[in-house]
């Protein structure tokens, strides 16, 4: 048989299966494995950061190296881990959930994935080069890459900018594919308002992505222009403005956090409904909320810039519009509660992580309210209060959400049940470890500790040490999930049934576990 010929149940063999993959399940699995690997890399960088902050003058890293580590930690977690993992869930699940045989554009799908490994290599290659004496390491201006600092950065920064362009290209391709699949490939009878919540969440996410990623890509090209081609976009001496970069970046950056959030906000109702053995509460409300969040997210970006010296009217507008986003997000919380209320709940690992998501993302969202006050923000901006807020929002929300999603779908994808005991250990170590790591950071911020510093004043010592030690526990606990994933992939553990979970509903749970290579080649009937 040639490399690409195969029957419905026998996928092609060898490396070409993966290199030339056009099957959405294969590509989904590659996205997931890549993303989880990057999550571990980003986590290692986080442990380095916390090791440096264990005591006021720990010298694990020089200040130069520290700035590079915090930058790459941010870029890897956002672009290398979270986005590919959610894209992987999208690729695997969306065609099944809408009853389509595959994504609408399978070859585009392949290219979209295979741009990712080169981008990841480019991000870290400058470190490898430095080891052999070339250059001074990678980008060190923070994941926000503010100009003119990023213009001063060494040659390693250009690697990061090209990586960002590749990542943007990849995300744009994946998003186009997702939008077309959802609009065009639904099984007959599946109207938009019958489509699973996760699919709606990815539709809005994909639309947001193609709307805002070009802004980042354009901005990055402008940075490269300022660095090497004599342009002055961000330099006053040439008629430009450093704050222009801030606007461009955050115009992308704020919708980006909703791009990270919405897919898991879409998985949550599925998981909660399954383990509460109840139908999803407020389907329409959640769909409208996603749409409203999508629209609002593009008009609030400058709440990241309250201290940059914008006119008073701008500060007031951005404060008021940011407060408005709390309403659709509150609707989502309300619907999650509504799904649980008077259900019959059991607490398997996905449910534990979903409940943890509600609590931790709740803290993230509530502290966001405090930050939206343009005047009070002067005390929180660029302090550890902000660091704690966005980790509660990004880890407590999307990361817990994808972990819940991974445990939820692991038996379906691999055909084997994971170890529930190890899963529970993972959850509790993660939940407690996370809180003990990041709650002290709210206090550190309020006490006056700025962010992005490798050494700090003595009054911040005790809370930093508590945070660091707990961070080591938090990091180590993720290995429990890796163990569970490897166990299932290797075919150990109980076989999973088609339905996997007694309360589970949806087209994906009518298929065998694992599903055959091609599914729904005849569209299912949806009433």
């Amino acid at each position: 048989m040639s490399a690409t010929e195969h029957t419905a149940d026998s996928p092609p063999r060898g490396i070409t299966r993966w290199l030339y993959a056009t099957n959405h399940k294969d590509i989904g699995k590659m996205y997931l494995l890549f993303g989880i690997a990057m999550f571990l890399v980003g986590g290692l960088l986080a442990e380095l950061i916390r090791a440096e902050l264990l005591t006021p003058t720990m010298r694990v890293l020089s200040p130069e190296a520290y700035d590079q580590v915090i930058t790459v930690h941010g870029l890897v977690m956002v672009f290398g881990a979270l986005m590919p993992i959610t894209a992987g869930l999208a690729n695997y699940l969306i065609p099944i959930m809408v009853g389509a045989p595959d994504m609408a554009l399978p070859r585009l799908n392949n290219w979209g994935f295979w741009l990712l490994p080169p981008a990841a290599i480019l991000l870290v290659m400058p470190w490898g080069l430095k080891l052999i004496g070339i250059g001074s390491g990678t980008i060190d201006a923070g994941w926000t890459m503010y100009a003119p600092l990023s213009i001063q950065s060494g040659p390693g920064a250009d690697f990061a900018f090209i990586a960002v362009l590749l990542l943007g290209l990849s995300s744009t391709m994946a998003s186009i594919n997702i939008i077309v699949t959802i609009i065009n490939q639904r099984a007959p009878g599946m109207t938009m308002m019958k489509v699973p919540v996760f699919v709606w969440s990815w539709l809005i996410t994909a639309l947001l992505l193609i709307a805002v990623f070009p802004a980042l890509m354009a901005g990055v090209i402008m940075l490269v222009g300022d660095r090497h081609f004599g342009t002055h976009f961000f330099s006053a001496a040439g008629g430009g403005d450093p704050v222009l970069w801030e606007h461009i970046f955050w115009f992308f950056g704020h919708p980006e956090v909703y791009i990270l959030l919405l897919p898991t906000a879409g998985i949550m109702p599925h998981i909660l409904a399954t383990f509460a053995r109840k139908p999803i509460y407020g389907y329409k409300a959640q769909v409208y909320s996603f749409c409203l969040i999508g629209v609002l997210s593009v008009v609030v970006w400058a709440h990241h810039m309250f201290t940059s010296g914008m006119p008073t009217a701008a500060n007031i507008y951005f404060m008021l519009s940011t407060m408005a986003i709390s309403v659709p997000v509150a609707v989502l919380f309300f619907c999650w509660f509504g799904t649980l209320w008077r259900g019959a709940m059991s607490f398997e690992t996905p449910m534990l992580f979903a409940l943890g998501y509600i609590v931790l993302f709740g803290i993230g969202g509530l502290t966001g309210l405090v930050l939206s006050d343009a005047a009070a923000d002067q005390q929180y901006h660029n302090t550890y209060f902000l660091v704690a807020h966005f980790h509660y929002a990004l880890f407590g929300g999307p990361i817990m959400g994808v972990i819940a999603g991974i445990y939820y779908y692991l038996p379906k994808v691999t055909g084997r049940m994971y170890s529930e005991t190890i899963g529970r250990w993972h959850f509790w170590l993660c939940f407690i470890g996370f809180n003990v790591t990041f709650m002290p950071q709210f206090l550190l911020g309020v006490a006056g500790m700025p962010r992005r510093i490798p050494d700090y004043a003595l009054q911040f010592s005790h809370l930093n040490m508590i945070s660091s030690i707990s961070a080591f526990v938090l990091g180590a606990s993720q290995l429990l999930m890796v163990y569970n994933i490897v166990r299932c992939i290797r075919g150990e553990g109980e076989r999973a049934s088609d339905q996997v979970w007694t309360g589970a509903r949806g087209l994906e749970f009518t298929l065998p576990s694992p599903p055959p290579f091609h599914t729904f080649q005849t569209p299912p009937v949806v009433n």
Binding site: T57, P63, I134, A375
Partner: protein, 403 residues
């Protein structure tokens, strides 16, 4: 499986004890505000935190109740509602959102608006100062009084490198603090010499970016004499953690006395520019200047950082981007891949003017001619460079004046 249930509840309680205590403690950890804006911000902080603590406890309490009361093991039949049914339920469902809007825009929004408008009102300032952020210290200027000086971290390198015990204000002490009068509205104009920095003093409740090429402003009215410490709050390179802000607030009379003393010191420094010193005196003074101003990049041992900052020691290999290499070559400090000791005049010129297009800044406005003379002498006689040169302040002053 009551043990499992107990463990779960115990775990949940443990995990929540942390946040509960933290919310309580947060009230005590904020630095005491000494300006009107600072007090406004503390009020908003306290108000917000009480409200979000109540929301959090309410929400989590409901969740925990549901997790307990609606468990599968109670052999429940799960409900099947998917939304509010009937007008009464719709009203109940709407109440939390109406409450949220009220909280956002009335309870939180009105004090916030008041503070934002107050912050933007610069009128009635008795004194205007200019603060310039640079990599990696602050320069303070009092245009009305003609006073200008640089304020650099004064924590010794030994403490940072863990070779000496740290003193109380580790990383929060400077050689020359900003001095401001109390009970007068001071307008602070912010500028930057290179990248974006941010001026932040927690006790004042203000933080404002210093954007290169633009001016920003904020104001303070300090109501108590004392020493207030803050830090740069925008990542600005490797020295970001090492450029603190120390403000010494004095009563208006003490402030005027300070201004008088500064003028006297200025005169003394002019005199120093024309004094003559021995080489040993220059080297001793130069070491202090080097450790404070140069060691951050060129390193205390003068070996620099490969690829980024050249060594001060001659005879060391150095490779970097082409612009840096050609800049060093044209000034006589680079030959065949090695750093060499170049001509004295060019050495002085590099310190005075910096090297445009590279991170080497100009020190003409930061260091006096006496300091520059000292540091150049130190560099030319230390790190294995035994040139025997001694640079006098007059030489530097002459070059500064444009000869």
């Amino acid at each position: 499986m009551s043990r499992g249930r107990l463990l779960s509840k115990g775990g949940a309680a443990l995990a929540l004890l942390g946040p509960a205590c933290a919310f309580a403690r947060a009230f005590y950890d904020f630095q005491t505000p000494v300006t009107p804006i600072g007090r406004d911000v503390l009020f908003i902080h306290d108000l917000f935190l009480v409200i979000i603590a109540a929301l959090f406890l309410g929400g989590t309490g409901t969740l925990l109740y549901s997790v307990y009361a609606h468990r599968y093991r109670l052999n429940r039949k799960p409900a099947s509602f998917t939304g509010p049914v009937g007008a009464k339920q719709w009203i109940w469902a709407g109440i939390p959102f109406a409450a949220l809007l009220f909280l956002d825009y009335v309870i939180l929004g009105i004090p916030a608006l008041h503070s934002i408008l107050a912050l933007a009102d610069m009128s009635g300032s008795a004194l205007t100062i200019k603060v310039t952020g640079r990599q990696w210290n602050w320069q303070y200027e009092y245009p009305t009084y003609g006073i200008r000086f640089t304020s650099t971290l004064s924590t010794p390198q030994d403490q940072i490198a863990n070779r000496a015990p740290k003193d109380e204000h580790f990383l929060l002490e400077v050689d020359r603090p900003l001095v401001l009068p109390t009970h007068e509205k001071v307008r602070i104009i912010l500028a930057s010499a290179d990248v974006i920095h941010a001026f932040w003093v927690p006790s004042f409740g203000i933080k404002q970016d210093a954007v290169p090429g633009y001016l920003r402003q904020t104001w303070v009215e300090i109501d108590k004499p004392g020493t207030y410490r803050g830090q740069c709050a925008e990542l600005c390179g490797v020295g970001h953690a090492f450029m603190p802000i120390v403000v010494v607030a004095k009563s208006p009379q003490d402030f005027n006395r300070w201004v008088g003393r500064e003028h006297a010191d200025e005169a003394a420094q002019q005199a120093a520019s024309s004094a003559t010193y021995t080489r040993d005196e220059l080297v001793a003074a130069g070491k202090k200047v080097f450790d404070t101003n140069c060691a951050a990049c060129h390193q205390p041992n003068g070996l620099g950082i490969p690829g980024a900052f050249p060594p001060i020691a001659g005879g060391h290999a150095f490779a970097a981007a082409a612009p840096m290499i050609s800049a060093l070559e044209s000034r006589g400090f680079y030959k065949n891949g090695d750093i060499v000791v170049g001509p004295v005049a060019d050495h002085i010129r590099i310190v005075l003017q910096g090297i445009p297009g590279t991170p080497m800044p100009s020190f003409a406005s930061q260091l006096s001619p006496a300091d520059i003379a000292a540091v150049v002498t130190y560099e030319r006689n230390e790190f294995g460079n035994h040139t025997g040169d001694a640079v006098e302040p007059a030489q530097v002053a002459a070059m500064k004046a444009g000869h």
